[in-house]
Amino acid sequence: MAERPAKTILKTEGLTKHYGGVRALERADFELHDGEHVAIVGDNGAGKSTFVRQITGVEQPTSGKIFFDGKQVEFKGPLEARAAGIEAVYQNLALADDLDVPSNIFLGREEVYFNIGPFSFLNTRKMMDKSRAVLERTGVKIPDLRNTIGNMSGGQRQCVAVSRAASFASKLIIMDEPTAALGIQETAQVENIIRNLKARGVPLILISHNLRQVLNLVDKIWVFRRGQIAGMVEADKTDGNEVVSLITGVKSGVHESASYI
């Protein structure tokens, strides 16, 4: 631990989630440092999404502890997690198709001029300017921000969702399969946003099935298998084969015996 000056942003101890008799997640010990980008990989049903749902407050763990930013937390809902500084990008969840780009980026945290009785008047200009700045910073091309999201391509939509998370996340971003439905060019765009986040030092947890992407983008790879953490490898000290063997269970235990633990 001595060689790590970066403080721990997220840590779980014995995080466990059972759905009735199904042990979806068993005693997961996970750690994420400030500025670090990690990936979570694993087969379907390995517990990746379950793990994320506990951290983002969508579900509450059966047992175990979550420490975020130095404090133990028990989020009762996604809003509490968000208020704490955790932004999540869900695959299809977070955009309102009939609203334009600024309305989506600022959904639920609109900029307001003033209130008259129950009505809060929106500062659309400020939201537009800020949206423009946000997209500029993430390097996303969207010709007309006043166009509704529903009229845009899958890539543009995902870029808006990712940019939105990137612009508000103060402490941690979690992306669940952000490029699963995208074409090559659009995938590259989202990856570019992720690189920008890295440059800005925003910690990230990326869930992906795409090993090439994972090896290229992140610092560490956490492998989940059958509801347990099968191991953790550093991206620049491994190759696809090692990760695959961890995923499939041919090899295990890097996490326990690794020198840096």
């Binding site: 809003l79 309102a96 809060s120 007309d144 529903g150």
Partner: protein, 346 residues
């Protein structure tokens, strides 16, 4: 990938994929088309102009503006992805209750003559009426938001219940002879004025306030609205409460105008209001619609009814055609939807 920063300020790149023409423009063109058809048919069959007749136009506007007040509320409900079938019955119930508190003392058979509740200041029947609508709307909204029963069922229940209330209230007897002050809210062009004020308020609310944004967001993607921190349940209750209150207002206007309230008042108004909203481009699947659209839809609706009367078309045909128009409007909505989905899949 470092040079794509510049494009945002340039509108030139946007030229390739521009925003579509606002839907309201298309609907307005439809309105003009329908007006022209009636104008031509008018000269052919009746030997007179349809449009250039102030009396006909003012009657038409008066007729639709009462239902228009309801349609403003219903539009917002439909934008959230819901539906409100109870408005017509709320009209009936409110008309009865408000009127019973607005009667003159010189009428010996006034409902509350024994209690001495006659010649009351106009604010009492008005406030009571609005409260009745508000409560009905709150019940609708709470059922939908918290018990998660479909809006169709919840408001259908309210439709039957409120109609029952209207009938039970005086055991089916009509209530008449309001004070002059109460009658004033239905007099002359007052209903049109009320409609315009209500439209303006909710035009601004939907377009320029947080309330409006959240209304569209909920209809567009309820889950997204929820994870974005919008209190979806509370907002849904609010929207139905507004719709109920506006239906109540319409009920009082229609009672004041006719100087009488009957338990059957407002029958089928809910469908007319829904039709106006849908003709005006409000999508039954939620997320889309506007007050301007509904106003145009309302004028189209009124013009078709008034046009058929003008052409001396049998009232039975009118009803059938009215039904067909509603179906056509919904089909058009589904069609628009399909085009959009296809466009998004590109």
């Amino acid at each position: 990938m470092g040079d794509q920063v510049t494009q945002v300020n340039g509108a030139t790149i946007a030229a390739g994929k521009t925003r579509r023409r606002p839907q309201e423009v298309n609907i307005l063109l439809g309105l003009v088309g329908i007006a022209l058809i009636f104008e031509v048919l008018g000269w052919i069959f009746q030997g007179q102009s349809f449009l250039f007749n102030t009396q006909r136009l003012s009657i038409m506007v008066l007729q639709v503006s009462v239902v228009g007040i309801i349609a403003i509320g219903v539009t917002q409900v439909i934008i959230t992805g819901g539906i409100d079938l109870s408005s017509g019955s709320i009209v009936g119930a409110t008309a009865m209750i408000a009127m019973s508190l607005a009667q003159v003392g010189t009428y010996p058979r006034a409902v509350f003559i024994e209690q001495g509740w006659v010649d009351l200041p106009v604010v009492i029947p008005l406030a009571t009426g609005l409260t009745v609508g508000l409560i009905a709307g709150l019940i609708n909204g709470s059922l939908i938001a918290y018990t998660k029963i479909p809006p169709f069922i919840a408001t259908l229940g309210m439709m039957v219940t409120a109609r029952g209330l209207a009938k039970w209230y005086t055991k089916g007897m009509p209530v008449s002879f309001p004070t002059d002050e109460f009658a004033a809210i239905g007099k002359g062009m007052m209903p049109v004025f009320i409609f315009l004020v209500i439209s303006l308020i909710f035009y601004v609310a939907l377009k320029y306030t947080k309330y409006g944004r959240h209304t569209y967001a909920i209809g567009s993607n309820e889950e997204a609205a929820r994870v974005s921190g919008i209190n979806v349940e509370r907002h849904i209750v609010l929207v139905y409460a507004i719709a109920g209150t506006l239906a109540a207002l319409a009920g009082m206007v229609v009672a004041a105008r006719g100087l009488t309230a009957q338990s059957g008042m407002g029958m089928m108004y809910e469908l007319d209001a829904i039709a106006m909203a849908v003709i005006g481009g409000t999508s039954l699947s939620g997320g889309r619609g506007s007050i301007i659209g509904t106003i145009i839809g309302m004028v189209i609706f009124g013009m078709i009814i008034s046009g058929f009367t003008f052409l001396r078309l049998d009232a039975y045909y009118q009803e059938m055609i009215k039904g067909a128009i509603i179906v056509i409007a919904v089909v058009a909505d589904v069609y628009r939807q399909r085009i959009r989905t296809r466009a998004a899949e590109r």
